[in-house]
Symmetry: C2
Subunit: 515 residues, 2 copies
């Protein structure tokens, strides 16, 4: 048995049985070994950002890591943006980066580069394998490290010769540490704070965005009058009819400030201290109002669901908080725009759907229109690095083959990692992609007006203008059937038809470029 075979067997024995890959020569032994370990499913991507984004989407739905296989420093670079998003999502990923043979590095061959330096930006756990003897244990350690808590991108740099030389064989799983328990004194202290009756809010995020902990957060709200807010970009929010209403903190700083106005206490539950996504001249970076004290119920390495349950119990909170009733918007008619597009989605969203949302400006209405739809999961752009939606939808579909995945994708963002469509076609993944084509980097048009530089001139505006993209042809080029809609009626019919297809399909929604 060579190192590669022992490595893949160890991954499988540690529970990792999907590998999203874009390999090169230095990874050929890994690829070769796929036939020796048939429990490992290799999923090929035509670009590394698809592989890493798919691993992110997979982990969000599977609650366990997939492996990624990348080719040296440049391959890692191509996958870096979506690893950044995964880092912010705090999901586990076993990020395997192939490297030159140990003895070859000194020759500075053309593809030689400092892989560890590139990886450090997205991984706090980075290890370079030193020998075929250590490879299997290093692999099991990478799996365990990826779980955290919190989940993280664990990067294992694997020189080619450690794969091709003889191995002593696979090893069993390394120990996973899991999240710490929040001390009961902290629960008691925060219960006292919330009992004070001073204006307060819970800000929930991360692992607290599932149905159970959201219900406990709502119970705390009912018991104390505290608002329940969620972070702006949750990793995975369980929502829809039967879940409690939670206000997402707005992306635009001024709206987020309005949501928190007058608060005296903000309790973070696996959520970061709210700050502005970007800095702007003469605007605040820290969005917490003056005079508001920030408390932490549960840090990212702690067990937030258990902490919320304990807090609800400490407050003797009622068992049945109000939840959202089932309701859907009517099928829309008339012009196609962000609002009617959202209504069509709300009218049609299947039960158990997974929405990978990178709709950006055009997706603003989608949250409201789907609030009362049947229960579903909503995945968002956690790290702000665009090009996440199509790959994340791909990985989510691999993780949850019995559920319909809907990808809401903006035209600009779609063009970063559109190669995901090819993987969807090849694997027959059940993904309906909606492209919101407004011919513009609309979010930047908004940002350009917000940075305080005065009215932009024509040369500046032309840099935000991206006309001429034909997403039906793009889908066709990769084997995905596509249609184009220009009215609300057309869009609704086409979306319905696409959802009915048990495999990938794309609907291009041509919408105005103004918000």
């Amino acid at each position: 048995m060579n190192g590669a075979q022992a490595m893949i067997r160890t991954l499988v024995d540690s529970g990792v049985d999907v590998c999203f890959m874009n390999p090169g020569t230095s990874e050929m032994h890994f690829v070769h070994a796929l036939d020796a370990v048939p429990e490992m499913r290799g999923v090929l991507a035509l670009f590394e950002g698809v592989a890493t984004g798919a691993a992110d989407g997979y982990a969000r739905m599977a609650d366990k890591p997939a492996a990624v296989l990348l080719h040296l420093g440049p391959g890692l670079g191509n996958g870096l943006a979506n690893l950044h998003n995964a880092r912010r999502a705090e999901v586990p990923i076993v990020n395997v980066v192939g490297d030159h043979a140990t003895y070859h590095a000194k020759y500075d061959a053309p593809l030689q580069s400092d892989i560890a330096s590139i990886a450090k930006g997205v991984s706090t756990w980075v290890r370079s394998v030193e020998s075929p003897e250590s490879l299997a244990r290093d692999t099991a350690d990478a799996v365990a490290a990826s779980y955290g808590a919190p989940g993280q991108v664990a990067t294992l740099i694997v020189p080619a010769d450690t794969c091709w030389l003889d191995s002593p064989g696979p090893v069993g799983p390394s120990a996973i540490s899991g999240p710490s328990t929040v001390p009961s004194e902290r629960i008691e202290d925060l219960a006292a704070v919330l009992r004070s009756g001073e204006p307060a809010a819970l800000l929930v995020g991360g692992s607290a965005m599932r149905r159970g902990p959201l219900r406990d957060a709502a119970r705390v709200g009912v018991a104390t009058g505290a608002k329940v807010l969620s972070e702006t970009f949750p990793t995975r929010a369980e929502r829809g009819a039967g879940t409690p209403a939670v206000d997402r903190l707005a992306y635009l700083a001024e709206f987020a400030q309005m949501q928190m106005e007058g608060l005296r206490h903000l309790v973070l539950v696996d959520a970061a201290h709210p700050v502005s996504f970007f800095a702007y001249p003469d605007k605040a970076s820290d969005l917490v109002p003056e005079g508001c004290q920030v408390h932490v119920l549960s840090a990212p390495d702690e067990d937030a669901p258990a902490a919320l349950a304990a807090l609800a119990a400490a407050l003797d909170a009622p068992d049945d908080p109000p939840v959202i009733e089932a309701s859907r918007p009517d099928r829309p008619t008339g012009p196609l725009n962000a609002e009617t597009m959202a209504a069509a989605l709300g009218a049609l969203l299947p039960e158990g759907a997974i929405v990978a949302d990178e709709g950006n400006t055009t997706g603003l209405f989608a949250q409201g229109a789907t609030a009362g739809a049947p229960p579903h999961d909503w995945l968002t752009l956690t790290g702000g690095a665009i090009g996440y939606g199509l790959p994340a939808a791909t990985g989510a579909a691999v993780a949850a083959p019995d559920r319909k995945v809907i990808c809401l994708e903006a035209d600009g963002s779609a063009m970063y990692t559109a190669q995901a469509l090819w993987t969807q076609a090849r694997e027959g993944l059940d993904v309906t992609t909606v492209i919101l084509n407004n011919g513009s980097y609309a979010v930047l048009n908004m940002e350009l007006s917000r940075v305080g530089a005065g009215d932009p001139g024509p040369r500046a505006l032309s840099m935000l203008d991206i006309p001429g993209l034909d997403f039906v042809s793009l889908a066709t080029s990769m084997g995905v059937p596509g249609t184009r809609a220009t009215t609300a009626e057309e869009f609704t019919e086409q979306l319905e038809a696409a959802i009915a297809i048990p495999g990938p399909a794309l609907v291009e929604a041509v919408v105005p470029s103004t918000l």
Copy 2:
């Protein structure tokens, strides 16, 4: 005048008047300032790898840097693979990476990451701007640093507030150091070595691959009997009828070893010591034969063309070395394959064409078929990070608007940075793209058989199989006209028609997947 305006004015005053960009919110002041400095041409890319690859292609043809504008760490990550190629090409690039405002970094907003750590893998010169007062001088320093010698990717990290705050104004160019002169003693020593009559070869690369120094290398060959070899992947080779014959060192180690067999002296002229591109079990990494002494005529920071001229003079070499006579293959007929495709290119290549070659396995015959074509330039994949061809062609076309650019692109490589086609359409760039579609990562099929792991199984082989791509639809999706050829006659006619179009066009050549 704000910092951004001073920065762009400084770039222009330092000779940098093209910026390939994919900006985000933190770069909006830079974008806004484009209207204040109309001499700067902004060229928008839909993906960062297109911007960085275009800057590489631009620098190869313009012999000066373009600027690149990227958005924070993830944007840099997306551009990293082609910056890696540019680093290996030793071309100048001013790599501007926007960052959060200086005071915003501490809030760890979603897009915060360690930009410098990522940049170090591709840039030895990395500077983060500390204030609007230093921005203009930092910019001029970045331009000067990019020139080297040798040329390099100079990375300037620019916090948003240094752009939006008031600036003391632009500054003049910083001093460029330029290459050192090779000491005359070294010239004399190497002249003596070559006069010895022992089997010797010059290995030329980098700046020595232009017509003048190649002619001097050939003169040295005539005077001493030394072979003239070139590096495997030159940055820019001037070739065709009227240039001396130079053998490119083969990509496959065993062939390169045959080319160097029996040598007692190998003289490096702005070229790296020849090593295997990858390591393989039981094969050599260092390709220089035993008993062969390696000498350096000119290191990358030295003036190779002057050194070659001095060496030729020291050897009293004859003035007129033999050159390749004009000749073209006949227009091919019959099946379309790598050989007939190459013949069509040789038959049709226009004078002064620039070939951006990422044809990989299918491009193997193109060198021979174009050797006697009218004078042209040939750009290659210097760093091995695929996804270089389409962007490099784009940048070359910006640098040389009066010349026809031909991009030879493999199907697998094309899918990394196909977004370049959109920039070509938008800018009306005169690029003919030839996609060699064999439905396979054919180079990896070859590599898989070379890594000594035995016959691959079906699961391994499926990871190298990329069927179903339709490049005519892909071109259409981005506004580039495309056609598909399946015979040599069709290909020749379509290539001729595409070359006749004064703007972008694409020909998809469907070729067999076997070599």
